[in-house]
Symmetry: C2
Subunit: 486 residues, 2 copies
Amino acid sequence: MSAGKKEAKGDTVGMTVPKKDFSEWFTEVIKKAELADLRYNAKGFLVHRPWSVLCMKEMYRLYEGELERRCHMPVWFPAVIPESNFKKEAEHIEGFEPELFWVTHAGSDELTERLALRPTSETAMYTMYSKWVRSWRDLPLKLYQSCQVWRCDTKATRPFIRGREFHWIEAHDVFATEEEAKNQVKEDMEMTEVIMHREFGVPFISFQRPEWDKFPGAVHTYAADTMMPDGKALQQPSTHLLGQNFAKSFNIRFKDKDEKEKVAWQTCYGPAIWRMFSSVVALHGDDKGLVFPFKIAPMQVAIIPIGGTEKEAYGLQKELMEAGIRVIVDASDNTPGWKFNQWEMKGVPIRIELGPKEVKEGRLTLVRRDTGKKTQVNRKAALKSVLTEGGELTKSIISKADNWFTGKISNASSMKELGECLKSGGFVRTELCSVGKDGEACADRIKDRFHAEVRGKRIDVEEKPKGDCVVCGSKAQEVVYVAKQY
Amino acid sequence: MSAGKKEAKGDTVGMTVPKKDFSEWFTEVIKKAELADLRYNAKGFLVHRPWSVLCMKEMYRLYEGELERRCHMPVWFPAVIPESNFKKEAEHIEGFEPELFWVTHAGSDELTERLALRPTSETAMYTMYSKWVRSWRDLPLKLYQSCQVWRCDTKATRPFIRGREFHWIEAHDVFATEEEAKNQVKEDMEMTEVIMHREFGVPFISFQRPEWDKFPGAVHTYAADTMMPDGKALQQPSTHLLGQNFAKSFNIRFKDKDEKEKVAWQTCYGPAIWRMFSSVVALHGDDKGLVFPFKIAPMQVAIIPIGGTEKEAYGLQKELMEAGIRVIVDASDNTPGWKFNQWEMKGVPIRIELGPKEVKEGRLTLVRRDTGKKTQVNRKAALKSVLTEGGELTKSIISKADNWFTGKISNASSMKELGECLKSGGFVRTELCSVGKDGEACADRIKDRFHAEVRGKRIDVEEKPKGDCVVCGSKAQEVVYVAKQY
């Protein structure tokens, strides 16, 4: 690849906003690193430029691989869902109706039935599931699709966080028993850990959402919340125990081994690659711009030929690319200093500087994006060193993100403390009378007073309350976490 | 993967319709091999099941790789296009308007401007191109996206051939000069050859389409036509020399090296993976069902454990999967014969039979899908043999398709001959007065009389006419090819 030359426009390179001013930093890095363009003339719809798409393609590849290893198979369902499908599950349509985009015409003709752009695919997929599931032999049925969904969110949109079109994966599974469905919820959480945390470096806490904050139509919703640099929580993949609600509405039944007809059990899981990308950008970036984990970097290596070493640079590029590494050679007419800044800002994990003296002596200089550490490497060890340093970079930035994340949890045992903790951001651990319907009034008081939400109770560790509800003072039933949110 | 158990439902296995009854065969194989389900309740929208999606994912991967090797970068544009964008290029809107799906409402609110579901992305992308292209340094700009497009085709839909939603790739390139744009057209044709022909095994002829059959807004349209088993032509990727038409309408200009502002030159290219899949199914399949080229097969190897060799089968699967091969173990309770039929029908290139005697003697039986040839292989040579036989199968089925395709070209020098040739199907080479506007009346007469179309003149070889126009009798200016079409 040789996109290098495109950069030679003489724009101002480098970030001007420090990361501590997160909101402005995020806006600037999206523009300067050419991740997306916000000027498309349909409000809330983003144009994704190569620098974000190259990364998200790798994120999709890793996630799809993990889903397939765990016996999910890929499908492609239509983007449109007939209105009548939505009407089958009452809670679901109530939850999504205000956000649906409606296709009403084809050419100059009005359609006999309106078609919604899918906001999520339960009501598309489950009409077919009822045809595909007949016997216990058809179960478990575990399918996923990588696609876009459309929701006319009326809140303020933010690129990669909240928008009217986003890119995600949705997995929809059917089981013969409730126990298997519950185990799938655990497997979904494991996938979030294995891919989002260990590969993308996005730490999270898994919560069971309170009763009043469930997915429309679910029995329970479990969500992985990460934290953004401004101290606000961001929901990452959620997995929903659907129980038999949809199976009853959509008639998903099977003849079991005992010859009896039974209603199936379901789960769904929604890893939103698009939103995970926002966390990758936000968590690993620094004052100089983006920092990508090695495996998912749009380009993993940038080679800067200095003083006429272009031929050697392209030779090295070829060698690394044959080993599957994504490499860019910047042979533009900009100064080496400009190029260093440019590829640092764009978050390329490894920079290779190649001068005439280095070529002559059979070595090269390798610079790591996260630490700036320079290493002299034998030319013959180029590939090995790139892989080693790339791996080290990933480990290092993930560990940094983990440590930061751990520090974003505080404790409060009174409304006063809760308010103070929330001022400095992060999750605040406190106690509540209930996460069932009874607790909603207390959660509303927290919301009204602090503009913060009860995220739910942890499911990775069991926590027993010791005192009283932070709001109403009655005996606490649950340890919960409160945070401001996106 | 262990989807094997899903198959143990006791349905009738195996095809009942021979391939010579192509239309019925195609319908049956789509259903029996579980490629797609046509029962979704929105007309013309297909539900794609894992067995087609696994293959198309590989097809996408190979095509995207080739595009990126040729310096195209991936982007993701919105699925919706504001109505005003379409109005900028008069011919384009005229061509597409009757087929557009319109989003008119969000929730219960009417949108201030209608949004079309993209039928193709010129009018989405070029509004941004006008912002991105400023200087000669920004050129060439070569971008592609893998996405779905929506067209409310009023003709009869056929799965993977004609539908209201299809999965494709579109590449949109911008150049400083007409010459570069013309070279891109050649490069697009090369990609069709390198991937569609040599990897997917779909032979084609490249035509320049007649003046009356161009893409709306293009200067010239070049299309790769393949042939289906029923003797009807099917258009595969087309590439369009857009000249400066769209660049003028969308204001794509740049400051050249000479400091003068110039209008850019454009091309676009549309490899429709979805439709290529139909040709893969149609061209390579036989009376027993599907036959896939090794590289793009949904599963490349099916291991059938016989007489209690499940453990060894899973061991072998693991070994092959670690080498990147897609392998299924069928450990269901069906008979070996049932399983042989099943995986033959599904087109798995290599079947491995593993009995207790073979395990004991350290060997296995390898069966090729295309020839049925059985080979005894040493267990230690399993991976190598799978790769060798897989490669041989691909070569063999492509060569078979090529030979068949070559035989589907005949010659006609009178309307009578043309009619006779068209009866047996295929391309008929004949001569026409013109492929410019002047020839349209003659083409219309062919269409009226034979329900066949003038596909255009070849661009891979130069052919000089020797006689008169087959229709009007005036001196022929062009050698053209006529065929019935999908």
